[in-house]
Symmetry: C2
Subunit: 114 residues, 2 copies
DNA sequence: TCCTCATTTGAACAATTGTTCATATGTTAA
DNA sequence: TTAACATATGAACAATTGTTCAAATGAGGA
């Protein structure tokens, strides 16, 4: 905040606002969620699972992607606790594991369609 | 959906879900919003402007970034209609231009702090 | 037990993205 | 009109990210 002294700062306003900005870690966590949803493949996966659970190869078909590509993205979504999985016979079924994400998606849908 | 015939598809479920997935363009637009918020500098900018309008160099201080870097990111946010700007004397003041984004951010804050 | 098949993994590559630096623009105030 | 200053821009670079391909797991069913 005081790196360079000859700045055009409205010192007071900057200080005011600075107080309201969340901590770096909080921001990083928010960024991570937005990043997770900020990719067409991953968003499509989540949109699909919003309807019902699916196995990896079905998701691949729904996304028009390789099983492998989908698996990579599912790992990311799993790591972020956005989806969870369970085995059923030979296949592994993925489903949504986070209600907040559902709200985020509905809200962005609203925004796009408004 | 029918590229490869020997898939382990639950044909029925896939068809069902396919109907509920938004069009490609819609998905792209949603992705763009999430991408816009999925960067620490841009998210910090938006969080700052949530409190009050600021000029570029004040934002730069708040983000610990170069005026130039901030300017680049502001252009992206402006293009996406997330922020708007107006001149006041020598400086250009930026502010939030999209209420949906405010909701998105509050929701992700919720999620992180849960 | 062994074979099959769905899923995962790792490395490599291509593409996208953010920041930096130098420079350009354009408005204000003298 | 001009000098000073805030902001914007473009090119270059580094870093991150997504997809592909080949190969490895590992559980289920024969």
């Amino acid at each position: 905040m005081d790196i360079c002294e000859q700045k055009c700062i409205n010192e007071k306003n900057v200080q005011e606002t600075a107080k309201t900005i969340p901590k770096k870690e909080i921001i990083e966590q928010m960024v991570d969620i937005f990043k997770a949803l900020g990719d067409p493949t991953r968003l499509t996966i989540v949109l699909a699972l919003l309807k019902q659970e699916h196995c990896v190869c079905d998701i691949a078909v729904l996304c028009n992607q390789t099983d492998s590509a989908v698996s990579h993205q599912l790992r990311i979504l799993r790591t972020m606790k956005i989806v969870k999985n369970k085995r059923k016979g030979k296949s592994i079924y993925y489903s949504i594991d986070d209600d907040h994400v559902v709200s985020l998606i509905n809200m962005s849908l609203d925004h796009v369609q408004h």
